[in-house]
């Protein structure tokens, strides 16, 4: 444990993640203004004591909109990763445990999906569906399970040959029980790391989609669509784009740091 606390990567990552999560959770109480409230007398104000991060071209407070935007980013990150991890565990477990033809078929499907550029696949799907927060979460989840699937499969392949698995088979423990009670708990560490890193990817993906107008729709705030709103006035009002951009950067960095640190921490071979 002391080893964990002295790891700067872990502590910085954890601090950022906790900070962003707290901000998102407490947004209604922390936000100084209503994020959708238009102030015609306060258009394009630079950062000041009253508006820390300035206001946009409709006079809305950037800080308030960012706090609410954090809720969108984190919700998308968590739910999209929840979906992709669930799919990945189920497919990877079946492929790794049973092997043979089932494995070959599932892995070729995974390879095929992996061949599509995810971002353009999502663009195509969203073009057919209505762009909404839920659709974004589901579509990101449905297009990012391949890495987890491969990871879980590799873990299960390695575990399958372990003697304690053979012992369970000898006792007649059912396949489902072996997978759930023997293999999955022993494969949890890398899955957790992959989930944390996946959140960073999902946050980035949501921002990109919202920036293109295919994600969260205005007037609801999201870091991505705030960037879009700011890009037309970037030469006279840099603050509209800068702060949401920094928020994306810091959040993604935080999750990446946390993920990398957990990887080092949970890998028994890396322990000194």
């Amino acid at each position: 444990m002391r080893h964990a606390l002295s790891n700067p990567m872990l502590m910085v990552g954890l601090a950022i993640v906790l900070f962003v999560t707290t901000m998102a959770a407490l947004a209604p109480w922390l936000a100084p203004f209503d994020p959708a409230e238009i102030h015609v007398h306060a258009i394009l104000l630079p950062p000041s004591i009253e508006h820390w991060f300035g206001t946009d071209m409709l006079g809305r407070d950037i800080l308030s909109r960012m706090l609410y935007g954090a809720r969108v980013s984190l919700a998308v990150g968590l739910i999209a990763v929840g979906i992709s991890i669930s799919i990945g565990i189920v497919l990877g477990a079946i492929a790794g445990y049973f092997g043979g033809k089932i494995d070959a078929i599932l892995m070729r499907i995974t390879d095929m999906v992996l061949c599509f550029p995810t971002f353009f696949l999502i663009l195509a799907v969203i073009a057919f569906l209505e762009p909404s927060l839920w659709n974004i979460m589901i579509v990101i989840g449905l297009t990012s399970w391949m890495g987890v699937t491969r990871l879980v499969r590799a873990e299960f392949l390695a575990l399958k040959e372990q003697e304690f698995i053979l012992a369970a088979k000898s006792l007649g423990v059912s396949h489902l029980q072996i997978m759930l009670r023997y293999m999955l708990p022993n494969a949890m560490a890398p899955i957790l790391v992959s989930a944390v890193l996946g959140i960073a990817g999902a946050v980035l993906l949501e921002s990109g989609l919202s920036f293109l107008g295919l994600g969260v729709q205005p007037p609801d705030p999201s870091w991505g669509n705030m960037l879009t709103e700011g890009k037309d006035n970037i030469q006279i009002a840099w603050w509209i784009s800068l702060f949401p951009g920094l928020a994306i950067l810091i959040t993604v960095l935080g999750y990446n740091l946390l993920g990398e640190a957990l990887r080092d921490l949970l890998d028994p071979k890396m322990k000194p």
């Binding site: 372990q162 003697e163 304690f164 053979l166 012992a167 369970a168 088979k169 000898s170 006792l171 007649g172 423990v173 009670r181 023997y182 708990p185 022993n186």
Partner: protein, 322 residues
């Protein structure tokens, strides 16, 4: 005396080629292995690494599917059983594994690991009864039942092996397959485990299929011995007969390779055999002839299987004297 486990001409080969290679590069890990294990007795399978003894154990356990041959357990042919039908027979044959550090689920408490067999085969037991039975079994195997809420990493190798034995015995099997159960332990702990196995056998009449490469361990525990080389049995008989009057040159070589404590009692080992390449396995005739000091021309043409059907030793020029 009743036969509890019978293996009939088992064969298992593994593919050496990868996914893309079309070659029929298959290596027979076990070939034409027939063994009979009687109730309450210990049959030891002895051989060097790669001789197919662990594969034989896993075939008997139905953890591997044989290419050919049959496994009979308590008079039932279980070679082709699947699913529920196989599960019902599994409680009659259990296994203790070689590596005490890999054979217990690191994420499961001891009480759950040992109680697992009861969950499967005595599902009507209440949790309380199950825990009581686990405590009883741990005690029998020399583990203090108070520690059963702990996880495997909190135990030493010898204790883990006792826990592994308890896990196997809790379903009251007739046959216990022991795959090098003491080779990962230090010598003092080895003796404790062997004595535990012996006393359990005397008290409860388990039959042991004992896999080992350590002849001094085998001499201590076995009633019957089968010597394996390159996937085949080369000599088979009672432990006294094998240790007193070995016939097959490979058996003799194995016996001579056991280190002798007293310097004056040591005999020089034949230089030819020491220099022989470990990989030399003949593909025709007697598999051992390339490493054998007493090999002759006709060794290339004999059928070891046919010889073994007639006599306890698969050698055409067995050493009768000694």
């Amino acid at each position: 005396m009743t036969t509890v486990l019978q293996l009939q001409s088992l064969r298992k080969s593994f593919d050496r080629g990868g996914f893309w290679s079309k070659s029929d590069d298959r290596v027979a890990a076990v070939d034409a292995v027939s063994l009979t294990l009687k109730a309450g007795k210990t049959l030891a399978i002895v051989g060097e690494s790669g001789s197919g003894k662990s594969t034989t154990a896993r075939l008997a356990m139905r953890l591997l599917e044989p290419d050919h041959g049959e496994v009979h357990l308590l008079g039932h042919e279980i070679t082709h059983l699947q699913g529920k039908a196989l599960r019902a027979h599994r409680k009659n044959i259990q296994m203790v594994f070689q590596d005490p550090f890999a054979s217990l689920n690191p994420r499961m408490k001891i009480v759950d690991t040992v109680g697992e067999g009861l969950r499967v085969h005595a599902a009507n037991l209440s949790k309380k009864e199950r825990v009581a039975r686990v405590a009883e079994m741990l005690e029998l195997c020399g583990v203090n039942p108070e520690v059963m809420q702990r996880y495997p990493h909190q135990f030493s190798g010898g204790q883990r092996q006792r826990i592994g034995i308890a896990r196997a015995l809790i379903v009251q099997p007739k046959v216990l397959v022991l795959d090098e159960p003491v080779s990962a332990l230090d010598v003092s702990v080895q003796a404790q485990i062997l004595n535990l196995l012996k006393s359990l056998q005397q008290a409860h009449g388990f039959a042991y299929l004992f896999i080992s490469h350590d002849l001094s361990v085998v001499r201590h525990i076995a009633d019957e011995v089968a010597i394996m080389f390159a996937g085949r049995i080369v000599e088979q008989g009672s432990a006294e007969a094998i240790f007193a009057t070995p016939h097959h040159p490979y058996t003799i070589n194995l016996l001579n390779s056991v280190p002798i404590a007293h310097p004056d009692a040591r005999q020089p080992i034949d230089a030819v055999e020491v220099l022989a390449d470990q990989e030399d396995v003949a593909q025709s005739g007697c598999a051992y002839r390339l490493r054998c000091a007493s090999a002759q021309h006709d060794c290339a043409t004999i059928s070891a299987q046919a010889l073994l059907a007639q006599q306890p030793c698969a050698c055409i020029h067995p050493c009768i004297d000694e």
